[in-house]
């Protein structure tokens, strides 16, 4: 086996592990949201609000599994660890953000020591970017970075 081939095998198994983890997260998210008592689990940061004429709903299931809906249409979120370079010239920093089909080049920082309302800010930014229009079904299709 050549070096390149051996490396490809490693890459494929890494990708396989990701698929499994994603599937597992899906199951956890479902069971986490509907426990036996029939009461949906709530995170104090969850929200359901009107913003510029659109209903945005955010639910927190843990990093990488949060859910966002705009007028009941889902937006698939992808977590990305990235450098943030503020336009005001302040010091760049590394943090975790969400991107989606709509804010593909504009990660919104998610909750950490620096910020606590990441999902809500993302929801509002999506509505701003939609400029009065709705999400399509394509926006609900996720992908992995």
């Amino acid at each position: 086996m050549t070096d390149v081939k051996r490396r490809d095998v490693l890459r494929y198994s890494a990708a396989g592990a990701v698929t499994t983890a994603t599937a597992l997260y899906g199951v956890q998210a479902l069971t986490g949201s509907e426990p036996a008592e029939g009461k949906p689990r709530r995170d104090p940061r969850d929200f359901d609000e009107d913003y510029r004429g659109k209903r945005i709903r955010g639910r927190h299931f843990g990093r990488g599994r949060d859910e966002l809906h705009v007028n009941d249409r889902p937006l698939a979120l992808t977590e990305v660890s990235t450098l943030f370079v503020p336009e005001d010239g302040s010091e760049p920093y590394v943090a975790v953000g969400y991107i989606s089909a709509i804010n593909h080049y504009d990660p919104v920082e998610i909750d950490d020591a620096r910020t606590q309302d990441g999902l809500r800010r993302l929801g509002r930014r999506i509505v701003d970017r939609l400029n009065g229009l709705e999400l399509s079904a394509e926006a609900g299709k996720g992908h992995f970075h």
């Binding site: 070096d3 390149v4 490396r7 490809d8 490693l10 890459r11 494929y12 890494a14 990708a15 990701v18 992808t78 990305v80 660890s81 990235t82 450098l83 370079v85 336009e87 760049p92 590394v94 989606s100 089909a101 709509i102 804010n103 593909h104 080049y105 504009d106 701003d128 970017r129 939609l130 400029n131 009065g132 229009l133 709705e134 999400l135 399509s136 394509e138 926006a139 992908h143 992995f144 970075h145």
Partner: protein, 268 residues
């Protein structure tokens, strides 16, 4: 041989020829590719593919991947128009000349592009849109401002091409600073479809990326043409200098794409 000009130096005949070639290609596949297949590729290769490599973005191969992507489009536009000199123009967004005019990319910069070369009336349809619309969308200047010449100079002054961990967190990296501070920012500056995963729906995508490729070429001329990192075939999850970039043909490695004088185009 394509001599890629600034939009500021294009004649109106050249603008018309470029817009017409794009519109022709939108409805007429050539060389085994269609316009929409470029949109598919952008969506597929933004994400990590089944080999767990980020080919097109947030990784060292950001520059050479798009260099090949643009070169193929330029070749397809030459084929469909029958004009071997047809060129991709570049948009230097630090300057005052805008591509958003009625005779070029369309004058509507906020909302649905309902008139001009890239409106449905003229045969331009949007494909795999994550925004529910049949019109190309723009929202100029409302998500971000455009980079200034000072920002460009600052980015161009990074001397390290890229370094570990080879992703979007690297601070001292020409590739990452360009990708975030110039490339991403202009996607956001234009807004609408340019801010989405399916950004090549907006033809201004090509003008923007052509300028990004030109800036990399300028950087290469001062820092060295053969400066791609990582060099060896041992770095997991990223494209090394001599590794093929998917979905392009065998032999399309960063190394093979380093010198534009061998690729059939130049910058004026």
């Amino acid at each position: 041989m394509a001599v890629r000009k600034s939009i500021a130096d294009m004649t109106s005949a050249e603008k018309t020829a470029f817009a017409n070639a794009l519109r022709q290609f939108k409805t007429t596949p050539v060389n085994g590719r269609s316009y929409n297949s470029y949109i598919d590729q952008h969506i597929t290769y933004f994400a990590r593919t089944s080999d767990n490599i980020s080919h097109a973005h947030q990784s060292p191969s950001f520059f050479p991947w798009h260099r090949e992507y643009l070169r193929l489009l330029e070749f397809d536009l030459q084929t469909v128009s029958g004009n071997p000199n047809l060129f991709l123009p570049y948009w230097d967004w630090t300057g005052s000349v805008s591509p958003f005019t009625a005779d070029f990319c369309g004058a509507i910069t906020n909302g649905s592009v309902s008139s001009g070369n890239f409106s449905p009336n003229w045969g331009w349809s949007v494909y795999r849109s994550s925004i529910a619309t049949s019109f190309l969308q723009r929202r100029l200047g409302q998500n971000a401002s455009r980079p200034t010449a000072t920002t460009v100079n600052n980015v161009q002054s990074y001397s390290v091409y890229d370094q570990s961990p080879w992703n979007s967190t690297v601070s001292n990296s020409y590739r990452n600073r360009n990708e975030i501070e110039l490339h991403n920012r202009v996607h956001n500056y234009v807004g609408g479809h340019m801010g989405t995963r399916e950004a090549p729906n907006d033809p201004v995508f090509w003008l923007h990326h052509c300028n990004i490729d030109r800036l990399w070429w300028l950087w290469q001329q001062s820092r060295g043409i053969d400066t791609y990192q990582p060099r060896t075939g041992t770095t997991p999850g990223v494209i090394d200098n001599t590794e093929r970039m998917r979905p392009f043909a065998t032999g399309k490695t960063p190394s093979a794409l380093r010198d534009i004088t061998t690729l059939g185009y130049s910058y004026a």
